[in-house]
């Protein structure tokens, strides 16, 4: 009887029997290879999903809840009447000849104005939350104690750095983990404004950071 069964099973179309095994085999093989590829891809994937272009600024929407900290925009850190382009604009570039030293001098003045950008003293001691791109200083592995916060992507790496009133030196009360160069973050804390008259050093913004949250969209989580 077994011989008959053998012969009968042989007559059943092979395709059905083997195709299911082949199907399972290929699914498993594809899974394994896909896993191998995913390892390579995931090895140094950045934590933020969208890829920013150089010069991109973060889109933020006004805070819907007031958590004590006021959400501010980068523009608020610049005095309303400050315009570094003033020197260049008053110059009638069209009226100058080629290579006119006045044009270069005006450009030098612009760059100097960039460096000497005035701060807004009223922002001192404000409890704020602001979104920006991180430039970690003194990182211990991925644990960051201090960082600079800048308003646009690629600042200081690919493009000229921002003016002095658009850089915030953040000192965190407890280290943040996993913050990498150019990661987008929300920082909450108290601003301190150093002006040339109050300190021996140059003017600038410093923030005592209480908390760091990843930026994933318009509003602060």
């Amino acid at each position: 009887m077994d011989k008959v069964i053998v012969r009968m099973l042989k007559e059943i179309p092979m395709s059905h029997r083997y195709s299911s095994s082949a199907f399972v085999l290929s699914i498993a093989a594809a899974t394994l290879l896909g896993w191998a590829g995913a390892q390579a891809a995931a090895s140094s994937a950045p934590s933020t999903a969208p890829a920013y272009k150089i010069g991109d600024k973060l889109q933020t929407k006004p805070a819907t809840k007031s958590s004590g900290a006021r959400q501010i925009e980068w523009d608020e850190l610049m005095p309303a009447d400050w315009d570094p382009m003033k020197g260049v604009q008053t110059l009638q570039l069209a009226a100058l000849g080629d290579g006119d030293p006045r044009a270069s001098a005006a450009l030098e003045k612009l760059k100097k104005a960039w460096d000497e950008a005035p701060v807004v003293p009223a922002m001192d001691k404000q409890h704020v939350v602001i979104a920006g791109f991180a430039v970690p200083l003194d990182a211990e592995g991925t644990s960051v104690h201090e960082m600079l916060l800048v308003p646009y992507f690629g600042a200081c790496i690919h493009t000229p750095p921002p003016p002095a009133n658009q850089v915030i030196h953040v000192i965190l009360s407890k280290p943040a983990k996993g913050v990498r160069m150019m990661d987008t973050v929300w920082i909450t804390g108290t601003l301190h404004v150093a002006t040339a008259t109050t300190s021996l050093g140059p003017s600038g913004y410093q923030l005592d950071g209480e908390s760091v949250a990843p930026y994933r969209g318009g509003t602060h989580p």
């Binding site: 085999l25 498993a28 394994l32 390579a40 140094s44 430039v135 790496i157 990498r180 140059p202």
Partner: protein, 424 residues
């Protein structure tokens, strides 16, 4: 389920010779993946905590990564020098709080020699606000009396067995065969530093004046024939350095770093560049990252190969086990239980292999860790596995389960067709 586990274990144990080989190969590929992940993480941690508190590293206009690698880690080729008066101009910039010039070029038995000011020991930080500390002796003070004093990093003292008061001579260049010694001007070990886990441990520190002194009668990298200035007479000459390799710069306000960076880049008297250590490190990881991805993909492929071995071995043995499967069916197991049995067997082999691989990583970390630290300055932490490593482990085991599905499925089909009459 209990019954299946026990049967799977006994059945596997019965075939332990071949299964052990498979488990071993899975273990090796796990070792590759986990070991690589750990090494990667430790290297990055080691590098990034090697310098802190420094806002800019200023040097000749080369590449940021190269400048940082050479000035902080003493790795890679020498960069061009910068003039000392450029360093002075930096010191006079009103945004700058402190400047520590560094001069490199000589070595001692393979350890790099760093000439710097005494301020280096107070200004240089690592980790989180950690300062370099003395284990014994004292620092050089930059005066001419202690001209030939040297301060050794912990690793140098340990590896070469040096003690305070010992006399050593430095070699020009990277040393090695054919390297010329500054034999006429021996140094005295005045101080030994505590271990920091940074390249400081591997460095021999001398004063800038001493660096000038040993090269007084040298020109173009070699001693002038017939000219020899004895060590004690060197102090009669002007030992102020004219050139240095780089300078570490600390600022009054850290947010002014870009302003000073621009000042350095536009300095008209010399072609300089200033680099933020964090930015340079990041650029280094970008470059290294490409290689890392390739290595990781390769390791993953090795894992796939070892799992293919598992599939092949179990599949090949299935034919002989058809009577076994018929017995199981006779006592009431269904084809699904047969599938489960094979799945459990395969997963057990995978888990054992992964455990072996992880144990191997731990053993190598313990065993080779000290040697790697002394040779390369990288601290291999014998710590608990990171979350990335746990995730990797789970993924490897998961892949093992998926791989086991193939022979398990085949056994399912066989058991269905065979029933109680296997065609063997």
């Amino acid at each position: 389920m209990n019954a299946l586990l026990s049967i799977a274990w006994r059945s596997g144990w019965n075939r332990r010779a071949t299964l052990a080989l498979v488990a071993f190969s899975i273990g090796l590929s796990t070792f590759l993946l986990l070991g690589f992940e750990r090494l990667r993480g430790d290297i990055r941690d080691s590098f990034s905590q090697s310098v802190s508190g420094t806002d800019l590293i200023v040097g000749a206009r080369t590449g940021g990564v190269q400048l940082m690698l050479y000035s902080i880690f003493h790795l890679g080729g020498a960069t061009n020098n910068i003039r000392m008066d450029s360093v002075r101009a930096l010191e006079q910039n009103r945004d700058v709080a402190w400047v520590v010039p560094l001069s490199l070029g000589d070595s001692h038995h393979g350890f790099p020699v760093l000439a710097t000011t005494p301020e280096f020991f107070t200004r240089f930080q690592y980790g989180y606000k950690q300062h370099v500390a003395l284990a014994s002796g004292r620092l050089f003070d930059g005066s001419l009396d202690g001209l030939y004093d040297t301060v050794l990093g912990a690793e140098v003292a340990d590896a070469l067995g040096y003690r305070l008061g010992q006399h050593i001579t430095l070699s020009h260049g990277a040393g090695g065969p054919g390297g010329i010694e500054h034999a006429d001007k021996p140094f005295t070990v005045a101080g030994i530093l505590q271990r920091t886990g940074t390249p400081v441990d591997r460095t021999v520190h001398i004063s800038l004046a001493a660096m000038e002194a040993i090269h007084l009668d040298w020109v173009g990298g070699a001693p002038m024939p017939g000219v020899s200035i004895p060590a004690t007479m060197a102090r009669k000459f002007d030992l102020a350095p004219k050139q240095v390799t780089a300078a570490l710069v600390g600022l009054r306000s850290r947010s002014a770093v870009f302003k000073v960076q621009r000042f350095v880049a536009e300095y008209p008297q010399e072609a300089l560049m200033g680099v933020l250590p964090g930015v340079a490190l990041d650029q280094l990881w970008d470059v290294v990252g490409v290689g890392e991805k390739a290595l990781l993909a390769l390791s993953a492929l090795v894992a796939v190969v070892s799992f293919a071995g598992l599939i092949a071995v179990v599949l090949a043995g299935l034919n002989e086990r058809r009577r076994e499967l018929a017995v199981l069916r006779a006592v009431g197991a269904g084809p699904r239980q047969v599938l489960l049995l094979l799945l459990v067997e395969g997963t057990l082999v995978a888990v054992l292999g992964v455990a072996f691989g992880a144990a191997l990583v731990a053993a190598i970390t313990f065993g080779l860790g000290p040697w790697i630290q002394s040779r390369y300055g990288i601290l291999l932490a014998a710590s608990a596995p990171s979350s990335a490593e746990w995730q990797l482990t789970l993924e490897i085991v998961g892949a093992g389960v998926v791989a086991s599905l193939i022979p398990a499925w085949r056994a399912y089909r066989l058991s269905l067709v065979d029933g109680l009459s296997p065609r063997v």
